[in-house]
């Protein structure tokens, strides 16, 4: 709601000020309009197999009772959680080293920055040749898509640890491990969490892409297969499930940032 508060402080009055209730109802109202437009547009102009809100809603009960739906869900979401966890921990460790030890930073910068710039989807054909058409390729891609952003942001954060913190630590005779875990790690924590947020966004895209391109069974694969056999409504139920999980996890990480590092206030969303 912070956004709305700031919008109210703008000097320009925006016509008639709507009441609080009307203001809260506004997104619901646009939501209904958008759904109606979608329904009517598809119904009047497009072939019957194209998904529209009513057919999707009708498909939900029959899809979520199938075992395939839950095994796909478990396979893809499990791989994302596992891969992002591995990639983030590895990325945070390397990022801390890169940020605190200059030579390590210099050595790894070409790899991390180069691979970070490169869309990971372009690596899928190479990985498929080397790793194979299986879920190991998916795991490698998810780990990479978490590892790179977390290593980048953590290195930036660790490099920017306030010099006065380190001076205070030295003055009080902090041992090296105390400097690492007592000063550098907590100071970089918000950057690590910001990296994990980026990582999750990339991991979802990578997971779906790799499932389709390397024929790995999972949500993304089934979603494409259903669409190809003209079951667009079933396919869209998968999209909704995937989006719901994505929103849940990313909201969780963002709220964790406020809990674990309450002193940190980012100026603008990345």
């Amino acid at each position: 709601m912070a956004l709305r508060d700031r919008r109210l402080t703008l000097a320009r009055p925006a016509g008639v000020r709507a009441g609080e209730f009307a203001w809260n109802a506004l997104p619901v109202f646009t939501g209904v309009i958008l759904l109606l437009l979608w329904e009517v547009g598809v119904r009047s102009k497009l072939p019957a197999y194209v998904a529209r809100p009513t057919t999707i809603a009708a498909a939900i009960p029959s899809v979520i009772v199938t075992a395939g739906f839950w095994s796909d869900m478990l396979s893809t979401c499990g791989a994302i959680v596992e891969g992002v966890a591995i990639g983030s921990i590895a990325g945070a460790v390397l990022g801390l080293l890169m940020g605190r030890v200059r030579e390590v930073g210099w050595f790894f910068t070409p790899y991390i920055r180069g691979l970070y710039s490169l869309p990971l989807i372009a690596l899928i054909p190479v990985l498929v040749l080397v790793v194979g058409y299986n879920d190991k390729t998916r795991m490698v891609v998810i780990i990479l898509s978490a590892f790179l952003p977390v290593a980048m942001t953590t290195a930036d954060g660790a490099r920017a640890v306030s010099k006065s913190f380190l001076d205070v630590g030295r003055t009080f005779g902090a041992k090296p491990y105390q400097v690492w875990f007592g000063i550098a790690f907590p100071a970089s924590l918000p950057h690590i969490l910001a990296g994990i947020d980026i990582a999750l966004g990339r991991a979802f895209t990578s997971a779906v892409a790799v499932e389709v391109l390397a024929s790995v069974p999972g949500l993304g694969y089934t979603l494409y297969a259903d669409a190809q056999s003209l079951h667009d409504d079933v396919s869209f139920v998968y999209v909704v499930a995937l989006a719901a999980f994505a929103i849940l996890v990313r909201t969780g990480v963002r709220s964790m940032s406020g809990r674990l590092a309450p002193w940190y206030r980012p100026r603008a969303r990345a």
Binding site: P27, A51, F107, S117, L129
Partner: protein
């Protein structure tokens, strides 16, 4: 005692020779990569090739016009995507921030679209629009437009209210307000968004080519993968990496140039 002198001498050496150490770190890391690639490539079997063979294939593919032709196809999609991103992103961001009812009505849905993994929406785009260049650009735009939208929106919303009040008290018209306050204040935010979008538009272009119509540079990648031709896959991947790194670098330079005053005052 000797330990401590060694440590302090090492520290002095690290400080005095920072430049050469830095260069040798870079050199060592790239050299190591190429060496490992070469050795692994020779021993891996038929699905991976050494660096030297990859370079020979790359030169051959460039010389016979295969890679340049593919780059023209992909480049067209990329540039159109970027252009649409900038125009749509800036307008949408400004509307969300400055038009109160519009922001209230559509902001949640913009976030929803942003958080949904766009790759999952490609089958829907295919069903509705088919797989020609137009739908490809649509997919690429949906993947890459959001950094500009949110950058512009955040920037516009964070204009300090004193600025707006002062402009208001001196009787600024809306057009003067835009020219003198909003546009200068928001430019750095736009550029941060544009920098991220320059990189994401490449992701969008590749996704569009992978999933809608396998043409251009992805066409060559897919051809190499299905024909089990690792030299071609590696050569084309190298080209894509090169473009990615150059584009990200150019984006950073443009941002630095356009908002150089920000670096000067903070620096």
């Amino acid at each position: 005692m000797t330990n401590e002198t060694f440590a302090s001498r090492l520290e002095r050496f690290r400080l005095r020779r920072a430049g050469p150490i830095r260069l040798s770190c870079y050199g060592l890391s790239v050299g190591l990569l190429l060496a490992v690639w070469q050795v692994v490539g020779n021993d891996f079997g038929i699905l991976f090739v050494p660096f030297t063979k990859t370079m020979r294939t790359l030169v051959a593919l460039v010389a016979d016009g295969t890679i340049p032709a593919a780059l023209v196809v992909s480049g067209k999609i990329y540039l159109l995507t970027l252009l649409i991103d900038i125009v749509v992103g800036i307008s949408l961001g400004l509307c969300l921030a400055r038009i109160r009812w519009f922001g209230g009505a559509f902001e949640p849905y913009v976030y929803l679209l942003y958080t949904t993994p766009t790759v999952a929406l490609v089958p829907m785009v295919f069903s509705v629009f088919g797989f020609s260049t137009g739908p490809q650009i649509l997919v690429a735009v949906v993947i890459s437009v959001f950094p500009i939208v949110f950058g512009v929106m955040e920037g516009t919303l964070s204009i300090p209210s004193q600025f707006l009040d002062v402009a208001d008290n001196f009787g600024s018209s809306e057009s003067q307000l835009w020219r003198d306050v909003i546009v200068p204040y928001v430019t750095p935010f736009i550029m941060t968004g544009v920098r991220q979008t320059i990189a994401l538009a490449l992701v969008g272009t590749l996704v569009a080519e992978f999933f809608l119509d396998t043409v251009g540079i992805v066409g060559l990648l897919a051809e190499g993968a299905t024909e089990m031709n690792p030299a071609q896959v590696l050569a084309v991947t190298l080209v894509v990496s090169l473009f990615a790194i150059v584009l990200v670098g150019v984006g950073e330079l443009i941002e630095r140039y356009l908002v150089r005053w920000r670096y000067e005052t903070v620096g």
